[in-house]
Chain length 265, copies 2
DNA sequence: ACCTGAACACCGTTCAAGT
DNA sequence: ACCTGAACACCGTTCAAGT
């Protein structure tokens, strides 16, 4: 009762509609404003302050311009974030050949590398991206993430998983297993790294502090036992081990079901 | 330049500090306000309007109370969301025995069910929860999620994965593989379901519309081919297939590395 | 002990106006 | 064509005040 009915209108993606016209050419004002400059500043600000610290007004200040100027180039904050999301997606370096044969070099690309190596490379690039830009994780959930760079990535990912030899009907499931894992794992890793930066402690110090905080609480016994079973080392070493093992698991599972199961759809 | 330095203070979890005192017993006002009533209304509002539609002021209106009354029971909006998060975590029904032997019934619980069945049950409960409450996904990323119900869940999860027979040092990686996958998969599923509710279309209609929107864009050819290779059926049927296959993959991978690999840490 | 009202410092965005 | 300033409808939260 007394619901008030504020409408949250469902949004489509900027990539599925016409963009605000670029409208180059103009000699009048010494503006300096620019589509790419705005997106670059957005990424910089998001890296520095996080998603919660980002606002159109802060961005305008960063660009040394009034609060509303950026609205001439961009329709809404959501559109701008979608642009920043796709821009960041472009930072991954994908395995050669994952975009298909390059003209004149087809003879070099044929089965040049194992699909498992390529999968590991893409996974580790994806992980690196999500750790470097922790604000990406929530944005990927919020928007459709189908910008040009996202499409290049997703095409590469699909190629690699298809090269596993799995029947086409099973490719989406395998793909989801691998990349949803990487997404979740890296999201947590990125958040922990950001938090350690924010409080000015090393990740190992922060980890030790957290461990101390749950000392003596029986609900946490099981978790602590699990941590200790990882046999120490630094936080980073534990993470590398877990990530590698999980990926190995996924790959082994794909191979097992491909070779053993009644796989012909 | 002109950074403005708004400080985003790093938060700890409500579960690691003292809660606002319950302070029962009071006969004066016909208040009606209550910790559990507030959390229940919060969950209801989040279900109805989503995370973006939730605000302390809307919640107060729902409770037919002034905007600031709820602050007597709860310190900040973040704390309240953390409480709602853990309350929702309590909605999962975990496999019997996952909490350890029950006094007097130990003889029934020993190896009563296969770890694979239990893993599938927990995974599917986790998935159901994230689809029913799409606002949970971002909250799980934002807070530490170590409330009492979260701990029960996480303990159950760890037990089951440990029962796979994997050496302790490999349990965390396997655990991450399975549950990060379920998290990511279900987050997308939940968002799609919420979106379909918001625009008043069935999921199949929305899916068809999206397919139509990318018709003729060559960047999407690969994705569309992948979709079609899933051999139709409803959106729900495709999802069931993908989810089941991915989980089978993970389980097969765990068994393969347990039995085949040089697994003795 | 519990609830209210006014106020503060923020938001995203609209709109009329400037050059 | 590009940028500004004032304004609107929201936020979360503080604080002094009521009963």
């Amino acid at each position: 009762m007394a619901t008030g009915s504020r409408v949250i209108r469902p949004r489509t993606s900027i990539w599925l509609s016409e963009r605000k016209a670029p409208k180059r050419k103009a000699e009048q004002q010494p503006a300096g404003l620019d589509h790419v400059k705005i997106v670059a500043a957005t990424v910089r600000l998001l890296d520095a302050e996080g998603l919660a610290g980002f606002s159109m007004r802060r961005l305008a200040a960063e660009l040394e311009v009034t609060a509303m100027s950026v609205y001439w180039y961009v329709e809404t904050k959501d559109q701008l974030l979608e642009l920043a999301l796709d821009a960041a997606m472009g930072e991954m370096s994908l395995p050669a050949g994952s975009l298909g044969p390059v003209e004149g070099y087809e003879h070099l690309e044929t089965g040049a590398r194992d699909w498992r190596d390529q999968l590991r490379q893409i996974a580790s690039e994806y992980r690196r991206l999500l750790v470097v830009h922790p604000w990406l994780s929530p944005l990927m959930g919020e928007y459709m993430n189908i910008g040009p760079n996202a499409m290049v990535f997703s095409t590469a990912v699909q190629r690699v998983v298809r090269d596993s030899g799995l029947p086409a009907s099973q490719v989406p499931g395998a793909l989801a297993l691998v990349f949803q894992f990487v997404y979740g794992f890296s999201t947590i890793e990125g958040r922990f790294a950001a938090r350690s930066r924010a409080v000015g402690m090393s990740q190992d110090e922060l980890f030790a502090e957290t461990m101390a905080a749950i000392e003596g609480r029986p609900e946490f016994d099981e978790s602590r036992a699990l941590m200790e079973a990882r046999c120490g080392g630094t936080v980073q070493e534990m993470r590398e081990r877990d990530f590698t093992f999980a990926l190995d698991c996924a790959i082994a599972g794909i191979e097992a079901l491909r070779d053993g199961g009644d796989g012909e759809d």
